[in-house]
């Protein structure tokens, strides 16, 4: 058995609006092995995005422990969280969130450049990643000149620039048509191999859900729904 790359113990997350307290995660446990694809399913509003954001340190949690690639997230201060975000995780959201003033190539290179990679290296690596997602010929296009599926592939390339051990994707095909979803699905499936990373994938898309090695259901807690792996 490999040491899990993600491990959550007794995780509690609530949202309170006024007097009402919303229990999203109630003493949830979760662990995931390195190099796998893990899908997270659950009804709308069950807290899938919130859980993913906790794993990526975008969202704080109430109590419990979350260890991601050796980082104990509950102990980290804001400053160390930036370091964690640039070294450990790559995010892909439902919306592409590319920067409109930057070309596809620059969008991919930017997180690397900001993380301290020399400019030439960042641009070179970005070109390779655009190659990986099949968009080398669109390097100098701006997001407004790309299709929805292409933007999402650029976003995936961007998530990989700092060679993160974990990629977190939140409904990446949520806004795409069937053909684009299909392309994206095969790209995501290749990801652990091609980029040596672990993929945590939240999706409603039953087609996309099939690529998972393991699958979890989120509903108050987290339960293992299927296990095709080990």
């Amino acid at each position: 058995m490999n040491e899990p790359i993600i491990e959550c113990r007794d995780l509690i997350k609530t949202f309170s609006s006024g007097a009402e307290v919303l229990h999203i995660l109630d003493h949830a446990d979760f662990s995931l092995e390195k190099g796998k694809i893990c899908t997270i399913l659950g009804p709308s509003g069950s807290g899938k995005s919130t859980f993913l954001a906790i794993l990526g340190s975008l969202e704080r949690f109430d109590s419990g422990s979350v260890r991601v690639d050796g980082y104990e997230l509950q102990t980290l201060q804001e400053k160390s969280l930036s370091v964690f975000r640039r070294k450990v995780v790559g995010f892909v959201f439902q919306f592409h969130f590319l920067l409109g003033d930057f070309s596809a190539l620059e969008n991919v290179a930017l997180p690397g450049y900001m993380a301290g990679l020399p400019r030439a290296d960042a641009w070179k690596r970005a070109t390779q990643l655009l190659d990986l997602v099949g968009l080398r010929n669109r390097a100098h296009h701006y997001p407004s000149q790309l299709s929805g599926g292409e933007r999402q592939r650029v976003a995936i390339a961007r998530a990989l620039i700092n060679e993160p051990p974990i990629v977190l994707a939140d409904e990446p095909t949520g806004n795409l048509d069937a053909a684009s979803s299909e392309e994206l699905r095969s790209l995501l499936q290749r990801l652990p191999e091609a980029a040596k990373t672990t993929l945590v994938l939240v999706t409603h898309d039953s087609e996309l859900a099939t690529i998972g090695d393991t699958s979890f259901l989120l509903k108050g807690g987290i339960s293992n729904a299927s296990d095709k792996g080990s």
Partner: protein, 449 residues
């Protein structure tokens, strides 16, 4: 401590420049149709526009004050004044004047006796400030430099000749060659006063360029003034010019003159006293500097307003680009890094604004006389077209201002204005910087839901 290294700054510049200016227009591979309008140039313009009047006010008020001060010093008070007893005999006085003129650092020394009289002509009468000048004044380069003549000479050659200030001559309606009557009071006996009438021929009409100063000048020879003026109200002195009236040497020279006085045996004698120009015109210069402070204060407020505009432009930018900032944060750009972008952006905006504003402000100040006379000519041209009988307009009323503003560009001011401008811009940029650092990447999760 977080260290800022050049290597870490480069990506910030890359990001900041793109944020400020939007994406590049030229791109051969993919022509861009839409370029975002950047708030940057508006903010630069705002700052430079507020800086321009600051320079004009600084240089004009400074030039005015310098010009007026020079005229007072060179044509009226001198740099040092040694008051003398009215009764001092001519020989003693001349020897003292020669001794002082011989001291190191003294450029010239000239006896003068001043008093009040009433000048009259067939057209009217007005009070006159009688200045009895010794002919040694003609050796005074400063005096000759600042006295302009409207006609005739600047120094009366004969006992019965007078040189009038421009506005006194106008009030009396006289020109060169006309005669004027001067009425002075002299002691008769037992405290009685008797008017004394003297007739002078106008030998010249002069102006110092500053009306306040020379409006009532009635210049005669000192011998004539000694005869006409009342010893109890007249003021006799030796006006002394130095090489540098603004330098520290003035006080050293003053003590040199005091030594000379005691050598000549006048120490402690009633009626002698030595004052510098700063003592003599103290209240005048105090009012100059307070006027200048008020003007600078007003201008400083204008700069603060521009800086607040900059801060609000940048803050609006931050608010409009929350999502982009959250995106940066989601891939590990720290809040310090995003804050630095806005801090650098604000400082860069301020720097450009200050430099542009300084260039324009200095240029306008330099050509202010030409610009003002151009505007004046334009106004008069238009008003003559509209109302042919109207009086010509004078923008700078010579009653209060010099007719021509002497501008000298002072580098200290420029350095201070640019330095303060940049510092204030950076300071107000703290507001958008702090605001940007509070944007959390969690915003992206529920974007548009």
């Amino acid at each position: 401590m977080h260290q800022i290294k050049a290597r870490n700054l480069k990506p910030l510049f890359f990001l900041g420049l793109r944020f400020l200016f939007g994406k590049p227009v030229q791109n051969p591979k993919a022509p861009v149709h839409r370029v975002r309008h950047s708030a940057f140039w508006g903010a630069v313009l705002g700052i430079s526009v507020s800086i321009v009047p600051l320079y004009i006010v600084l240089f004009v008020s400074n030039g005015m004050i310098q010009g007026i001060t020079d005229r007072y010093l060179e044509t009226k008070t001198g740099h040092l004044q040694l008051a003398l007893p009215f009764t001092l005999t001519g020989e003693t006085r001349e020897k003292l004047q020669r001794d002082i003129a011989g001291l190191g650092g003294v450029a010239s020394a000239s006896f003068e006796v001043d008093g009040i009289g009433l000048a009259a002509s067939s057209r009217g009468s007005t009070s006159a400030q009688v200045r009895g000048l010794d002919q040694s004044i003609m050796a005074d380069e400063g005096f000759k430099k600042f006295i302009q003549t409207d006609g005739g000479t600047i120094y009366p050659e004969k006992q019965n000749e007078a040189v009038l200030g421009r506005y006194l001559a106008r009030a009396l309606g006289v020109g060169v060659g006309d005669t004027v009557t001067l009425i002075t009071l002299r002691d008769a006996h037992e405290g009685q006063m008797l008017p004394r009438l003297s007739i002078f021929r106008v030998a010249g009409i002069v102006s110092s360029g500053y009306r306040e100063l020379d409006a009532n000048w009635f210049i005669v020879r000192s011998e004539a003034a000694l005869r006409l003026l009342n010893p109890s109200t007249a003021y006799a002195f030796i006006g002394i010019k130095t090489v540098d009236p603004y330098g520290a040497g003035l006080n050293a020279l003053a003590s040199g003159i005091t030594d000379q006085l005691s050598q000549s045996g006048f120490s402690g004698v009633q009626g002698f006293s030595l004052r510098t120009w700063r003592d003599i015109e103290r209240s005048l210069f105090a009012s100059f500097s307070s006027t200048k402070s008020v003007l600078i204060l007003i201008m400083a407020i204008a700069i603060i307003v521009a800086a607040v505009n900059l801060a609000s432009a940048l803050t609006t930018y931050v608010i409009e680009h929350r999502t982009e900032i959250a995106i940066l944060r989601s891939f590990g750009v720290s809040s310090q890094q995003t804050a630095s972008i806005f801090l650098l952006g604000g400082a860069a905006t301020g720097t450009l604004g200050c430099i542009a504003g300084s260039a324009v402000g200095i240029f306008i100040s330099f050509y202010i006389n030409q610009i003002l006379s151009g505007i004046q000519a334009a106004i008069n041209f238009v008003s003559r077209l509209l109302a042919p009988a109207s009086h010509p307009v004078t923008l700078l009323n010579p009653d209060y201002y010099l007719e021509r503003i002497p501008i000298s560009i002072n580098w200290d001011y420029i350095i201070i204005v640019v330095g303060v401008g940049i510092a204030v811009s950076a300071l107000v940029s703290l507001v958008p910087a702090v605001k940007s650092s509070r944007i959390a990447p969690a915003e992206l999760i529920r974007h548009g839901q």
